[in-house]
């Protein structure tokens, strides 16, 4: 009964504008995220990531444009939408005088749902102490309370604003696992970050937002496919370094004596096959980080 009809997109934004009196916001933003997709929303602080998430939650309303979640109007059907999503705020603030257990039972009651044992086991996975008041907790532990609140009840849509900030690497890994699990179960994840490497690790697609405008949306796999591999090789003689510049995908060819540098777009096979025929002393092939890739790609597309 809860099956999505004809796999309609989980999130649709069409020409959304939101301006604040104090400046900032988003302009003419259009985006669609499908069910089971992990979408990474990337941009510097203040670029409009949080604005988009708060628009989806109906905490703020757009000046213009259409926003639909699960095919429902974000404003008119906000309650139905919120029944099916979990949210972790970027600047998480919870009730300081209560314990984690107090806050989680409160939210569970308001969600009308998830049974306590399921919540407790989530908390245990994250090694969260339930009976300490929030005000005595470290930033990382507070973040865990927020994460358990977002993940509890396995919502169909997860909105995670900078989910791993302040977490140690072990817990970061657990968050990534939760995100992957959600995606394999056909649930949708919309996560924001200012670190691409993090987003790239879990996301299917990445969107880059700058000054309130969505400047690029790319599949992570596509980005990786377009990766320019940096190849550096040293041969026994300068003669061996010839014949590379004409191979498919090769650019930035430089050859000084017996040393060779080049970049390869797409498949590495032709270059590797040619290398195999040479008398090689040293070889390094480096894949650029997603960060470098994305920025290079973005600058390319914008002339």
């Amino acid at each position: 009964m809860d099956q999505p009809v004809a796999r309609e997109p989980t999130i649709v934004l069409e020409h959304v504008y939101k301006r604040y009196r104090t400046g900032g916001g988003v302009s003419d933003l259009s985006l669609s995220v499908g069910p089971g997709e992990v979408f990474g929303f990337l941009g510097p602080n203040g670029a409009g990531k949080t604005t988009v998430i708060r628009l989806l939650l109906d905490l703020i309303r757009p000046n213009a444009g259409r926003i639909a979640v699960f095919g429902l109007d974000s404003r008119l059907a906000s309650l139905q939408i919120r029944h099916r999503l979990g949210y972790l705020p970027g600047e998480l603030s919870l009730y300081e005088r209560f314990t984690a257990r107090g806050i989680l039972t409160h939210f569970a009651h308001l969600r009308g749902g998830p049974p306590w044992p399921a919540i407790a086991s989530l908390a245990e996975q994250m090694d969260l102490e339930l009976d300490r008041p929030l005000r005595t907790m470290s930033k990382g532990n507070r973040q865990k309370v927020g994460l358990v609140a977002a993940f509890m009840g396995d919502p169909q849509l997860l909105l995670l604003d900078e989910p791993t900030s302040g977490l140690d690497p072990l817990v970061q890994q657990q968050v990534h696992q939760e995100v992957m699990r959600a995606a394999t179960e056909g649930r949708t994840v919309f996560l924001s970050s200012h670190v691409l490497s993090e987003v790239g690790e879990v996301a299917d697609r990445v969107g880059l937002i700058r000054d309130g405008r969505l400047v690029a949306v790319e599949r992570v796999a596509e980005l990786q496919h377009r990766a320019l591999h940096q190849v550096d090789a040293t041969f026994t003689s300068a003669a061996e370094a010839r014949g590379f510049e004409t191979l498919p995908g090769v650019s930035n060819f430089k050859s000084t004596g017996a040393d060779l540098h080049l970049e390869v777009a797409g498949s590495l096979r032709p270059v590797v096959e040619r290398l195999a025929q040479t008398d090689l002393i040293d070889l390094s092939i480096r894949e650029p980080t997603l960060e470098e890739l994305f920025l290079a790609f973005y600058e390319q597309d914008n002339g």
Binding site: R54, L57, I60, R82, L92, S93, I103, H106, L110
Partner: protein, 270 residues
């Protein structure tokens, strides 16, 4: 200290639990204030020199501070407890808390996580307001019980009916002023503005209720005072006045309506 297995349900329950310590403090303060007032009474009741002293005051002053029949139980309570001090204390409590109930969650940023749960904004506002009313009623009950139960020990005898009428008036002053502060907080998100307007309103209300006994030309504007409708009718002596109480009740409900509508329409915590 947190209880070992704290669990929380509704927003209403959380609001009261968050205010628990303040409520205990205010209730204790009111009880102490009442006991002190009661303890002074035996030295005043039936003390002729005291009556003479008061008679020597200009009539205008006696009217302003409501000190007619000062030496009888009800007259004493009216001027020492219900004319100014106790209603003002409870109203201050209601204004401080009312201005914080909605606007405070925005200020502290807790509203984002809270309202990502399937809770309508209307339900949020109504539960918060219900907590405010419960808090005021709790303090009012404390005052009534202290005066009613301990009064006889200090030779101050007062019936439960007139006492209840006065306490109800006092509660209504606090609830109406607190609800207006609450509504301003919900409509604007500004605690300071809500507190300021609420406090100004309470003071103006008090002055408009008591000054006309001195300044007769102020008499026609008296009906705009929330305080006048709740306590200006002297409920301790004359009992309930449904029409007057109804005016304050109506204004209170109007404030809640404004709070709900304004809160539903605006952007939160920007």
């Amino acid at each position: 200290m947190a209880e070992p297995h704290q669990s929380l349900r509704s927003i209403y329950e959380r609001a009261l639990r968050e205010e628990q310590r303040a409520l205990i403090g205010w209730a204790t303060g009111l009880a102490v204030f009442s006991v002190v007032m009661l303890a002074i009474f035996p030295t005043i009741s039936g003390n002729e020199s005291f009556s003479k002293l008061l008679e020597a005051y200009p009539e205008s002053l006696r009217k302003l501070f409501d000190v007619t029949d000062y030496t009888t139980g009800p007259g004493y309570l009216r001027s020492e407890v219900f004319s100014f001090m106790a209603p003002l204390l409870v109203a201050i409590f209601a204004i401080i808390w009312g201005s914080d109930l909605v606007a405070g969650e925005e200020d502290r940023g807790t509203i984002d996580a809270l309202l990502s749960n399937p809770v309508s904004r209307r339900r949020f506002v109504v539960e918060k307001w219900a907590a405010l009313v419960s808090g005021v009623l709790l303090l009012s009950a404390m005052l009534e019980l202290t005066l009613g139960l301990l009064g006889p020990a200090f030779k101050l005898h007062i019936g439960w009916a007139p006492l209840s009428a006065a306490v109800l008036g006092l509660a209504l002053v606090a609830i109406s002023c607190g609800s207006i502060a609450f509504a301003i907080g919900a409509a604007t998100g500004s605690r300071a503005l809500a507190r300021g307007i609420g406090a100004a309103l309470a003071v103006a209300s008090y002055l408009l209720s008591s000054l006309p006994s001195l300044v007769s030309w102020l008499r026609p504007v008296r009906p705009v005072s929330l305080w006048y409708h709740a306590l200006g009718t002297d409920p301790l002596v004359t009992g309930f006045h449904m029409g007057h109480l109804g005016v304050d009740l109506l204004i209170t409900l109007l404030a809640v309506l404004v709070a709900v509508v304004a809160f539903e329409r605006r952007d939160l915590a920007v």
